[in-house]
């Protein structure tokens, strides 16, 4: 009896503590162990439909006869170009992701009118090579290819380093020879060549001699990433396709905050109604299931935070739906327990066989919902993936809490000698 009281209190305490951790966050020193559910930087990220912002999808318009073997390499180049343009425009929180094989999705939070961004991002890239006076010597069509490399840059150098190797066309080689001759004869501080994207300098290597070769290297204080980034940007000049905006979703910030607030209120009322319903129908077990539901919600909150789920409106719908479904396992069990009680078994025996017999039903029925969530996760795009994530997680966690927490707490009730079948809804 004494042991039961202690373990009952221990379970309640665990729920409260996890709940506090979920709301306040939990960190040791500077290191965040569990981010708070409200911490949108370290924890649950809020989707564009909640904070306001734009999602712009560009599709590569492949010309006839395009060698599709180059597609993944060229898309990487296009992605780098979009990133560079976003940074330049000050959208430092924006992201660019590849969708399918020829679409790029740009997500920009907190932007009010996205049309300017659509124009700038989708514009054909202008790659130029200029001198200190701004004279254009070469452009993108003069370059065959740029590659990030690692190794010794010449026979005589000792250390290995990252550099960018650029291959030129025959025409480009001639122009490059002229350019390097002119630039290298300038005074120090003026003898550099700028590589510009859309008129903005990306790199300014110094030129010390005339280079008459179909290939040259750009070196000096690169790391693997910066070398790759510059190589990609130089390749922008040879992108054989243009990017067309095929989808745009822009949500104003006000609409987003309304959405978050109203769904929060809806969820609270919904949960309260479910709790009242369960207690009225199932009495004591109903009350236990409400505690289990509390456990389910705090666990779900912590896991969503830890996984840094990108929460969008359908994602919220998934959470709320799974709360409604979370009590399902409890309902199946309690109905079973009631039947066993009616058949004249003792409370303890009824609870045990109720759980045992309900298990296959709960297991099989949850697997099918998981199959649906998995297909959505796999085949869906955008916000649908968020919905699949929250729904799938909800199903797994609810099955776990029903089979462990509810069972454990109900057994404690029996230990407390609450043995009147009426209390169990029979």
């Amino acid at each position: 009896m004494k042991k039961s009281i202690i373990s009952f209190i221990a379970v309640m305490l665990v729920i409260v503590l996890i709940g506090i951790a979920a709301i306040m966050g939990f960190s040791v020193g500077d290191k965040t162990i569990i981010p708070s559910v409200f911490d949108s930087e370290n924890g649950i990220r809020r989707g564009l439909d909640l904070v306001g912002g734009s999602s712009i999808t560009f599709e590569a318009q492949l010309p006839d006869g395009y060698d599709s073997g180059n597609l993944s390499k060229d898309m990487e180049t296009a992605q780098e170009m979009l990133r560079e343009r976003l940074t330049r425009e000050g959208f430092t929180e924006a992201s660019v992701t590849l969708q399918g094989d020829k679409r790029l999705v740009v997500e920009i939070p907190n932007i009010k009118n996205p049309e300017d961004a659509v124009k700038i991002l989708g514009a054909t890239a202008q790659l130029t090579f200029t001198d200190a006076d701004g004279k254009v010597w070469l452009n993108g069509s003069d370059v065959k290819e740029a590659k990030a490399q690692y190794g010794r840059i010449s026979e005589s150098s000792v250390k290995e380093e990252h550099y960018v190797q650029m291959t030129l066309t025959a025409d480009g080689q001639k122009k490059f020879a002229d350019a390097t001759q002119a630039i290298s004869s300038r005074t120090d501080g003026q003898n550099w060549m700028a590589i510009n994207l859309d008129g903005v300098a990306q790199s300014q290597p110094g030129v010390h001699e005339r280079i008459d070769s179909d290939s040259c290297i750009i070196y000096g204080s690169f790391n693997a990433d910066s070398a790759k980034s510059l190589a990609n940007l130089i390749n922008v000049g040879q992108l054989p396709f243009t990017l067309d905006q095929v989808e745009l979703r822009a949500v104003g910030p006000q609409l987003g905050s309304n959405a978050l607030r109203s769904s929060f209120v809806a969820a609270l009322i919904g949960i309260a109604l479910v709790a009242i319903f369960m207690i009225i129908i199932y009495r004591l077990p109903g009350f236990i299931s409400v505690i289990a539901l509390g456990f389910y919600m705090v666990i779900e909150a912590v896991i969503l935070s830890l996984l840094k789920v990108n929460l969008s409106l359908p994602g919220i719908a998934g959470i709320i739906l799974s709360i409604g479904m979370a009590v399902d396992a409890n309902v199946v069990i309690f109905e079973r327990v009631k039947e066993e009680l009616r058949a004249g078994k003792s409370v303890k025996a009824s609870i045990d066989s109720g759980f045992k017999r309900a298990f296959t039903a709960i297991f099989d029925s949850n697997i099918t919902t998981l199959i649906a969530a998995a297909v959505l996760f796999w085949k869906g795009t955008g916000t649908i993936v968020g919905f699949a994530t929250t729904l799938g997680l909800g199903v797994i966690i609810s099955m776990f809490t029903a089979l462990t927490v509810t069972h454990f707490l109900l057994n404690r009730m029996v230990d407390f000698r609450i043995k009147n079948p009426k209390v169990y809804g029979a």
Binding site: K112, L248, F277, L313
Partner: protein, 302 residues
Amino acid sequence: MKSKFQIIKNFKIFGIISCILCIVGIVSLIALPFGKNFFNLSIDFAGGTEMEFNMHAAVTPDMKGEIADLFKEATGVDGTVVEAGSGVNQQAIIRSTSIDTDKRSAVIEAMKAKFNLTDDDLYNNEDVSASVGNDLKTAAFISAILAAILMMIYIAIRFEFTSGLAAVVCLLHDLFVMLSFYVIFQVQMDQNFIAAALTILGYSINASIIVFDRVRENLRVARKEPFEDVAERSVWQTMGRTINTTVTTLLTVGMVFILGVPSLRNFTLPLIIGIVSGAYSSIFLSASLWGKFRKIFRRRHA
């Protein structure tokens, strides 16, 4: 258990009700590849541009006319204007075929100038090309078929082939009821419908499985009893669970429908229809269908 009325014996009645509920959805779905569209498809599927402006005023028919004229002038394309929200702070939604960024900019600038709006008043600005819309349609079909096949395989393994077949028929029933509802009431169908429909696939089959699980269990001890009687008893034994789970799910989803923003409402409406239909099919159809399929199956192998 004493039953108030016979579910299995009255299968014909429930079957006919279901056929009536499904027929509109089935016909509309079959007509789709033949170029006849009875659905009210949103730009997600159909492609197009949709912009929503907060007008800081009641949107009168006159104002709608002005906005439509302004849109035509700025883009050369006809747009339809509808109002949203209520009271003296309404929004105007303009829909048209897909227009490019230059034209959209022109509309936004013209609206800002004419009605004294700022960028903050641009609540929504969406554009979907026809190719993206078609991709979504294809993805929807593939996902639904894939999910149904996977579920049927799972049930066939855990139960038997005939029960898997019965569960999938119930699931298609719920899907068609949802489609019928959308066609009859001309509710706009957007990409959230796919997620809602697939959730219902999982949820509806979930309910059928609870019934089948009980039939499976009862069959083990009742070898001499006819299948119909076992099925009837099982349906009644699981009735409490089916109804109570439906109620709890409807409580949370219903709250979102009542209090949520329009886009969440679009998401929860099909869920509500599907949940109700799922309860109906698992109570009145699932066990009866299993019995029917079992008979057909056995006769063939006799």
